[in-house]
Symmetry: D2
Subunit: 354 residues, 4 copies
């Protein structure tokens, strides 16, 4: 049983069935098919606003193509020091932007701190040609350590971004988990809070390989040409799939009947239950609050060994600074729940640790 990653989960049955169902006769290629068109419409309905959507196969592609639209080669994307675009995409940001920099900030729970951000950008000389120019801010929802930005926190960051003419990007690989946990609407969590571009993730939450780059056309601080160019960027990155119907079909089934939130809500509730078990046993403490479907817990190395011995996968986490770090005989483990995590899986952890 695996709490290793939501990437290790399979595809939800509904999504898989939609893929199978899309496999009829011929269909127009490269995204000109009807599934893709309907999928964009579905996103506009979901987000209650006009969207340009670009479907791609990986989160790395979604994040870095989206950021490239608002970050010139001499630009800077401000992000948390523990963010996927910095630590886990092998420098894809540099590839797609043509060499732009990352300016990394610390912050509790993987979150950018608005006052810190304000101070640093307030002191930055945006006009001096010697300095690379900050043009975008990227935040992750959920963060790399499973925390969740409140809508008000996002709005505060967006306000700073706009003050400096910068775009706000959200890496929403786990956007579904964030929305399900916050109980707000997708619109409230994104453009209404000032997000300009969203990587809307599907893969970690039951899709096979589907992420959408969404530009909120009526509100985004992005010019039309840059949005149009995104179609070129996607093609050039080898991310325009020829049999695009299978991406559209994934998205349609993912959104239908709120399936995406059902999946994410289940994963979140499994994580909440797991957190209760871990802390309730007195044998573990949480490193950060649980914002969605991930539990970062500090427990003893002997408990770690017992879990591993019982075939339970959970990865050690070493990348983020902690106020109360593990002692020498402790470790920090990341447990990720997915739509496929069962009550039995969680109960099994309880049994092992009790």
């Amino acid at each position: 049983m695996s709490f290793g990653s939501d990437n290790m989960a399979p595809v939800s049955d509904r999504v898989m069935q939609a893929i199978v169902d899309a496999n009829g006769g011929p269909a127009r290629s490269y995204g000109a098919d009807e599934w893709t068109n309907r999928a964009t419409d579905a996103l506009e309905t979901l987000f209650e606003t006009r969207c340009s959507a670009f479907f791609v196969a990986t989160g790395t592609a979604a994040n870095t193509l989206g950021l490239a639209a608002v970050t010139p080669p001499w630009g800077v994307t401000v992000c948390h020091e523990v963010s996927h675009i910095r630590t886990d995409e092998c420098g894809a940001h540099g590839l797609q932007t043509g060499g732009a920099q990352l300016l990394t900030l610390a912050g509790d729970g993987g979150k950018l701190d608005a006052p810190d951000l304000d101070k640093i950008l307030g002191a930055y000389d945006f006009e001096d040609v010697h300095h690379p120019r900050p043009t975008s801010i990227s935040i992750s929802q959920l963060t790399e350590v499973g925390c969740r930005y409140d809508v008000s926190e996002i709005a505060a960051i967006s306000k700073i971004a706009k003050r400096h003419g910068m775009a706000l990007h959200m890496d929403g690989a786990r956007f579904a988990n964030a929305v399900a946990a916050a109980g707000c609407t997708p619109a409230e969590m994104s453009w209404k809070a000032g997000v300009d571009i969203l990587s809307f993730g599907g893969t970690k939450n039951g899709c096979l390989a589907l992420e959408a780059i969404i530009v909120f056309r009526d509100t985004a601080a992005i010019d039309d040409r840059a949005v149009g160019d995104l179609a070129r960027r996607r093609m050039r990155a080898g991310q325009l799939l020829s049999k695009g119907r299978f991406l559209g079909a994934q998205l349609l089934s993912y959104l239908e009947d709120g399936h995406w939130l059902t999946l994410a809500g289940h994963a979140n509730s499994m994580a909440a239950e797991l957190a209760r078990i871990l802390t309730g046993s007195g044998r573990a403490r949480l490193a950060w609050p649980v914002g969605g479907n991930e539990v970062f817990a500090i427990l003893s190395r002997s408990d770690q060994a017992r879990l591993a011995g019982a075939g339970i996968t959970a990865f050690e986490w070493r990348d983020a600074p902690l106020n109360d770090p593990p002692a020498a005989d402790e470790t920090l483990l990341r447990f990720v729940c997915s739509f496929a995590t069962s009550q039995d899986d969680v109960a099994r952890v309880a049994a092992i640790l009790s």
Copy 2:
């Protein structure tokens, strides 16, 4: 009914079933799964040699990542003036190589002509730092106009490449059709003829989205570090799919029982039949010999209108020079057959034109 592109075809039932079957419990992510491992083994068996294989979702990614492994930013890839990497990948070669150039040559049927190539490279000053340095040659099998290189033609080009320390890349988006038509082994068509890197295509021939970059480790003129770096390049390009099992599963089912050649052989025979019909009617002539599953035929605009009126899709082709070009009242159409093209589809064309 569509002869528009093999990209417009669906997924073969066997391949789709394999995707469904892979959708069990958890699996290791990012290509560390068992399907991916077995798929590499299967390629080594098929090609009768040691391979490094990197699975990606698109042909553009396969071609340009493979070429990037053998083309530094100041390098040059020599290719035909009508080649996918030049005309149809939106400059992806420039992205993945970091800005390398293409040097394009003419040649009948979309094929590089070995004597021409020899002459041009023989006169090139490879050492002068002012000149970008030719480091790779890329050929397409089938070519963009549906022709097929003989094994001996490939070997002649490879010999020239090796004389100049250059690598030979093959864009094998339709490698299956070429092998099926030539009746040789995959090894004979690739490394035994001196190909160093192959984009082994699956998508156009019945897969959902699967291409493999194959480096022939025992013979390729590529150093080990460059091969290792390909794993970084793929990740950085956003082409390392998290649920990699579904790529591995596609490949395994694609190769099993010679399924790939069955699919390609069928497409080829439909194309041969179509060519017979078109030319036999005396109403069309072939622009180029049919090398696999594509028929480029010159016919009257009135016949074009009749086909279109009957709902038959075939695209006009304008990109390549012809010795005997269409007259003013004629046009050049590309008919692409796929595994899904039926006898009825072909018969329908015959009926319309008769």
Copy 3:
């Protein structure tokens, strides 16, 4: 004595004196000095229009930074197959544009042929995202084989460029020689003929290291942001010299009293004289008409040996196709005259060949 290249010539005395004279006390750095400001004013006076000028140290930098302003990474620059940006800048165009392509055309004398250009661009599908998008045309004045575009030829190319929303760039490494030979004004040779960006060369014509990227602000098909970004591009390319006063000083002295045209006119007259000698002797024929300061002559290998034996440097030229190519016992030599070429130098060639 060297007819090897105008790059092998020294610096004109006036220009060198200006460098020495600028070497007084402190001056503002990075182009904020008074020399640089006055140099831009001087260019506006010379060209009779509002200019944005960016001084750099090399022609490669000038060409490729200027083109980068009008060529996105997925763009294409159309140029002659024998052009400096393609053959002699080691792929700098790919570096500065972030990977854009070159589309090369043939044409007599190194010149783009307007009807050919029109035909190719007229057939190009600019909207299909699969195709890299042609966004700029670059012509060289003089061409790589020493020919000169008439003003009307430039205007014809510009008209085609504008029809397709493309920018017209001129590599003017030998712009001075062209203007001196044509007897027109700099304005007539550039923006009045529809040139948007000009690499205005100084180095080959008596400067130490000075090229100016000039954007004609009132007429150029370039948006203001792209012009502003050029300042970032130059800095990022390491081409913003800290002691910028020495670039400004070079330009001021170069333009003062028509010094630049005096230098170029002398070089041109030496070339004309040399061409007369070579062809008048009946021992050589011109490969192309002499457009300025370069003579491309076909002569016997024995004459080549006699010249070399007498210490006269002139390089063999192998890069360009010729209607009447050298016979087996002949060769094609490029003789370049500069401001420093003397009557004696030319007479010496006459003596050797007579």
Copy 4:
């Protein structure tokens, strides 16, 4: 009178005379001239080891081309958070490396702290393809805030670099000042301490525009091909000057008779005197120890106004964190001395503040 920057100083008389003297007849272009050859020899003599040297016109070019030789596109250069390559080169590192990242660390006085570095790199997973790979460390000598690494500090950093297979680069824009102040040999300050590549600066210390990228061939952790490729990188960056003799001539005169150290020693002594005056007056305190020719002093805003009113240029410095930052009525000023700073200049400051 200006303490604004050593970039605002003129060219030393000896160096200017050498430029004038090199301006004789023809010379081979693009660095094939005798001055350039002799300049490389002179560097080998100075550094007591075999060197590959590449002369360029700016420090930005030197730093980023050198780093590009040891940093692949998916690589990471570790550097101080206040370093020129991060804050003042407009992202040139991203351009020349093809998009590599910077990993920035804090540290007193602009210096990397070896134990911190060791800890961070010790915990880094170099093999995981998701993570960009740290392949180079860059330190600045002097640092951006005028401090100087001891030879032993450099050696400690180099030891860590080598443990991880990384190259050590030194931004030596003020290497002359560092050597003059430390009283060691250039070899001791560079390759003997484990530096692999050095940007050897001339421009800030009396040259017109001259920086050398030096690779220490017998000791550098760089493979031969990467060194050879540097010649291509330089050309492609537009940094191979055609009239290269004037770079070679600068370097030769700069090194002759220890001229470079005479210039730097004078600048250092002026800075030492200035620091004494500022602190001795009790009206200012040093922000950091003076390592060479720069004084960072905290003084009252009223004193700042008095200096400015007297025509003395010294820039406010806002980029670096301080243990004892300026109070509300104070500011931090950077005073830079150069070879051209006079006793009178320094005395004038004393007079104003007394």
